[in-house]
Symmetry: C2
Subunit: 335 residues, 2 copies
DNA sequence: CTCTAAAAAGCAAACGTTTGCGCATTTCCT
DNA sequence: AGGAAATGCGCAAACGTTTGCTTTTTAGAG
């Protein structure tokens, strides 16, 4: 591997000063047409590519953003959400010639790392737990946009959880269901609260009473969905539909229903949340609520880039709508 | 945001030269104990963090690797493979204080980008199509490790596809099946050939004849699996088992079987490949072959780091074993 | 032709580190 | 006590760009 060709080499070959070469590669004025052409020629010929590090040093701009993603089964692994956000972000970044550095690993460490290294101009923090200790540090030290977390007076793009589940529960009500179970997430998590609020909201809107015995809490995995559904389905009268606060729990509920010899959707309608891949491969395929993950990544990244440039964005906080996806797990009551 | 504190600031405060401060932050010898302590003290106090860009400039080392991932439905979106590889890679990288830059987007562009920018010391290219035009360029310009592609005289870590499907088909044979269908991938793709070879291999090993009418090619998506299975299941005699070259096609085959009122596994055993998330959520859950994706990411990254450092790795090409996962879609013949 | 203004190109100082070399000062050995 | 060896630290040159300022060249007007 021979020494890399630098701007000085090109300058020497062209018989000009490095500054002139710099002006042509960056497309700034102040150099004549023929010289410009000659230099481009030499650049191609010798395959010169500017050293981004040297450039970053003087411009004090890395042209790189970081993305903090959680690690662990529930997060990245079962759910396309993070992958989609990542894709959206890298695409939006590439649009403006920025690159994306991925930080993951145990949550104490990755927060520290990104701060320690100073290799990014800004940060996308996706799905951080609200009690994460690194949040205050990060918020203060780095221009940051949070994804899917609504952190007070920070910049974020999130999704309207409450409206999303409200819409889904309304869908069940409109199918004629009057006894609708609810499998929620762990208490005291913001996201659990919002989704429960959506469930209650839909009931209020339609003038339906909610019954405590129809509500149970899981912890977002399949087993807890199975357990919660089993419990709810033993109520009397048995509900004719169940909404689960995520797909994994809905899948658990589906298994519980089968275990009780209930056929879905004839005996029981089911609806989940997240639109994970598996939801379209269950039998029957699961009705659910889809999050605009890719778009969230895009918008978050665009917002971040604006903040990095010091521009004033139209809004520092974006709440995006969800989309209800009706498949075969939800049907009219009593058919 | 005030000006960042530099090594000179610390030097001035400590009353020493920048070189001395440098020596303490990098832990090199040549500075006395009390001065060392004093400087650490000042560093903490003023929250000094070395500028990685300046450091990279002089050391000619970015401490960053790139990872090229394909984009598109079949790839990242349905399959945890890429996410897992990414995780394994970032973890291994972090171990050695390297970071990971993600390149994605249309395949012509991302290859050009990574070369143009020169922001990485090396590259992990995962799941590139073998006819990708950027392969020769990349291989030549950057130290690269290919993941899941066995490129002649390049460094790679891949998985033993042939042995994997051979193992799975042997599993079906051992369950008593003698008529076993095969749904392959598109012709002329390396991966399709290897998997087909595994199917043939298992037959040879057990002295079973293969029947052309039991074999059909899909293109790795669900619909093509459905079509191929339908075709195969119309053979006479009808096979009692089908192996599909990936899970998505196996899921299609499952639907085709249901459509023909065949019950799995009683009337038909089914086995896939990849172990995507959905495979454990179908009804019945799908037997399949699991790829050590996380480990592949790890090993590939470790190999890459060795190459970057100029060390001689024990092996430049690694072929990892798969794991057969038996679920309920495969059972003894005729029960 | 001359004068002037605009265009083209050069100069040199930054950006924040690392590192080889050299000079004091201390420590050790006999 | 004398010299040698070891230690502690400073100096300054890199690393490869960008950019404000100055100088030179060119072109156009009178």
């Amino acid at each position: 591997m021979s020494k890399n060709v630098t701007i000085k080499d090109i300058a020497k070959l062209a018989g000009v000063a490095p500054s002139t070469v710099s002006r042509v590669v960056t497309g700034r004025p102040g150099v004549g047409d023929e010289m410009r052409a000659k230099i481009w020629q030499l650049i191609k010929e010798h395959n010169y590519r500017p050293n981004s590090v040297a450039r970053s040093l003087v411009k004090r701009r890395l042209e790189t953003i970081g993305i903090l993603v959680p690690r662990g089964r529930t997060a990245f692994f079962e759910n396309p959400f993070f992958a989609d956000v990542l894709m959206g972000a890298t695409e939006a970044a590439a649009q403006e010639n920025f690159d994306v550095l991925v930080y993951t690993g145990s949550r104490e460490k990755k927060g520290a790392r990104v701060l320690q290294e100073r290799k990014v101009d800004g940060l996308l923090a996706v799905g951080l737990r609200e009690d994460d200790a690194s949040i205050p540090l990060i918020k203060e030290e780095l221009t940051t946009v949070f994804v899917n977390r609504q952190i007070k007076d920070a910049a974020w793009v999130s999704v309207d959880n409450k409206e999303g589940v409200s819409k889904a529960v309304a869908h069940l009500i409109e199918l004629g269901h009057r006894q609708i179970g609810f499998i929620g997430g762990p208490e005291k998590m913001e996201i659990s609260e919002l989704r429960k609020a959506g469930y209650l909201d839909a009931h209020r809107k339609f003038g339906l009473a909610v019954r405590p015995e129809y509500m149970a809490a899981g912890n977002f995995d399949e087993e807890s969905g199975y357990a919660a559904a089993t419990k709810i389905l033993n109520s009397n009268p048995r509900p004719t539909a169940i909404f689960a606060a995520n797909d994994l729990m809905a899948i658990g509920a589906l298994k519980a229903a089968k275990n009780l010899s209930l056929v879905v959707p004839d005996d029981l309608s089911l609806c989940g949340f997240d639109n994970i891949h598996s939801s379209s491969h269950t039998d029957p395929p699961l009705s659910t609520v889809k999050l605009p993950a890719f778009q969230m990544g895009q918008l978050a990244c665009q917002l971040l880039l604006q903040l990095i440039r010091g521009e004033e964005p139209e809004a520092r906080q974006l709440l995006l709508p969800t989309e209800l996806i009706v498949r075969q797990s939800s049907g009219k009551v009593g058919e």
